[in-house]
Every structure is written in structure tokens, then in C-alpha cells.
């Protein structure tokens, strides 16, 4: 799946040609630089490693500095591998938004969702809570309730939905429509929401053909 790396700028709404108001997310995508080419002979698989964003040399480890030097590019903030890129690409080649994406296409976007911290079951799994404040209820309005039966099975089943860390995990949203591609600004506009904070790194992939 070819794709690019980008940054979330934020949400707004624009109008379609038919006059419909579309909620959309503005993404800064590319220019991405090829930092390595994985080949079948050497690595056992074919892929292309792309880099995006600036990173100061001081903040880059010596090992990574060597990696970037080999490709002949400045240190990048994020590196991601993509498969099935068309055509031969050499390290140092630059890819822009309009090289990969076109208006009307559908893309899938991965990012790190906003962290919500340690949350209870009502927020984390959408439990209903107790729903009653009277009839003997006391300090259990948002409690999870029973987690299982007694002597059989005498344990709590694996995967029981409980409270815990919510958000701040990798989330992929599939089939987001590309509304606009602004090649000059390196901006991609997709319909709908995208995981993560403003300014967070995201990976945009084309769906598998």
C-alpha cells in the first residue's frame, strides 16, 4: 500500500460543488524523502522507507545519523516503510502529496489517538452505569457491576472489559474520502475526523487494490 507521512493540522468545514457542508480534516502531507529501499535479495521483502519532518542533528543518535548520511538526506523525525510503490525510487527522491493521492480517492489514516488517561468502564467501554440514584444505590453510579459467576467458573474470563488506560494508542480509520489536494501547500483534506491531536504525526495509506 503506497502512502505518505503527514501531520494533522486541524478540522474545519468546506462546501462541496453541490453546496453541501462537509466536515473535514486538514493534513499537512509530505514532502517525504526516500531514506532506504528494501530489496528482495538483501532484506527478503520489497518496500520503501520514507522520512518526514525535521529533526536536529543533535537530537539524532549516531546510528541514525549514519543511516541518513547513507541516503544523503537531512535527519528526519519519522520513518515509515511502505509497500507496493510504483516505479523505481532511489534514496533521496522526494515525494509530494499529488504524486501519491488524488481527489475522490479513499485512504486509510493511522495515528495515535488522544490519551484520556485511566478511565472507568462507562467512558472506556460505553457501559450504562447503574442508572438509579435511589433504591439503595450508594457510590456505585458508574460501577462496572458483576464480572462473572461464582464457583463455576471460579475465575474472571480473559478479556473482561474493565477500567484502564484509554486512548493514546494506535488507531486506524479506513476509507476516508480525499476532498481536496492542494499541491502547492502540500495539504491534503479528507472528509471526517482523523485520530490524534493537532500537530500529531499520521500515516496515510492507499487501500490495497
Amino acid at each position: 500500500m503506497p502512502g505518505l507521512i503527514g501531520k494533522k493540522i486541524g478540522m474545519t468545514s468546506i462546501y462541496s460543488a453541490a453546496g453541501k457542508n462537509i466536515p473535514c480534516t486538514i493534513l499537512e502531507v509530505g514532502p517525504c524523502v526516500v531514506t532506504q529501499v528494501r530489496t528482495l535479495e538483501k532484506d527478503g521483502y520489497e518496500a520503501i522507507q520514507l522520512g518526514f519532518g525535521e529533526r536536529s542533528e543533535k537530537r539524532t543518535s549516531k546510528a541514525m545519523q549514519g543511516h541518513f548520511k547513507r541516503a544523503g538526506v537531512a535527519p528526519k523525525r519519522k520513518l515509515v516503510e511502505f509497500k507496493n510503490f510504483e516505479g523505481e525510487l532511489q534514496p533521496g527522491a522526494e515525494l509530494k502529496v499529488d504524486d501519491v493521492f488524488a481527489e475522490g480517492e479513499f485512504v486509510s489514516i493511522s495515528g495515535t489517538s488522544k490519551g484520556k488517561g485511566f478511565q472507568g468502564v462507562v467512558k472506556r467501554h460505553g457501559f450504562g452505569g447503574v442508572g438509579q440514584a435511589t433504591h439503595g444505590q450508594h457510590n456505585r453510579l458508574r460501577a462496572p457491576g458483576s464480572v462473572g459467576a461464582a464457583s463455576t467458573p471460579a475465575r474472571v474470563f480473559k478479556g473482561m472489559r474493565m477500567a484502564g488506560q484509554t486512548g493514546n494508542g494506535r488507531v486506524t480509520i479506513e476509507n476516508l474520502e480525499v476532498v481536496k489536494v492542494l499541491a502547492d501547500e502540500g495539504v491534503l483534506i479528507v472528509k471526517g475526523a482523523v485520530p490524534g491531536h493537532k500537530g500529531s504525526m499520521i500515516i496515510i495509506r492507499k487501500p490495497e487494490a
Partner: protein
């Protein structure tokens, strides 16, 4: 935030409507598409709020239609708005005059601003 506005301003055009605020009486002409035909419809009433900023701003117009209060929210950048005409400038003391919803008849009148110049 500024980057969003900058990009959005290139994609969405907000026309230069006459300035109006809560309390003003306006007549909004709306384009309505029916099949292939397009016709115009007018909606006249009192502006009870303006909300948001930039091209995502909206305004709410309230009118009484056969004894029933009707409110319509228009996005200011909507391509379906043909014209906005300010008929009266009302003298009100707040920017969101929701108290109008609880008033009917004579009580729902709004004092007019003096020295109003029509545009």
C-alpha cells in the same frame, strides 16, 4: 489555528453581506433546488444570534409563522444564500436574545434604533 483559517479561506468564499447583529430584522433569500429547477424563497425574521467566527459562522433567524415560532440557522458562507437584506435595526442589550422565545405578541416587539440608514 491560523493555518486552518489560511487554508480554509482559499476554499470557502464568504460574500460581503451587510452588517447585522442580534435584534435586527432581516430578510434572507434562499436558493432552493427542486430537481433541475432553482427557485428563490424568502425568510423574514429577527436575528437572535450570531455564532462562531470566520467562514464557519452561523446566524439564527426567528419568526412567528401562524402562531408557531420558527427558527432557521444559516451558515454565513452557505452557497444557498442569495441575498441578505436588513429591514430594521433593533435596539437590544445582549448579543443573544433567546428571551424572545418566551415572549409572544406585543411583548415580543423590539425597540427600533433611531437614525437607521437602510442599505
Amino acid at each position: 489555528m491560523d493555518r486552518i483559517k489560511e487554508i480554509a479561506s482559499k476554499l470557502v468564499e464568504v460574500q460581503d453581506w451587510p452588517s447585522f447583529q442580534a435584534g435586527d430584522t432581516v430578510e434572507v433569500t434562499i436558493k432552493i433546488k427542486e430537481g433541475n429547477k432553482e427557485r428563490l424563497q424568502k425568510f423574514q425574521g429577527v436575528v437572535i444570534q450570531r455564532r462562531g467566527e470566520g467562514h464557519t459562522q452561523t446566524f439564527t433567524v426567528r419568526k412567528m409563522a401562524s402562531g408557531v415560532g420558527v427558527e432557521r440557522i444559516f451558515p454565513i458562507a452557505s452557497p444557498f444564500i442569495d441575498e441578505i437584506k436588513v429591514l430594521k435595526r433593533g435596539k437590544v442589550r445582549r448579543s443573544r436574545i433567546f428571551y424572545l422565545r418566551n415572549l409572544t405578541g406585543k411583548a415580543a416587539r423590539i425597540r427600533e434604533k433611531r437614525h437607521f440608514k437602510a442599505n
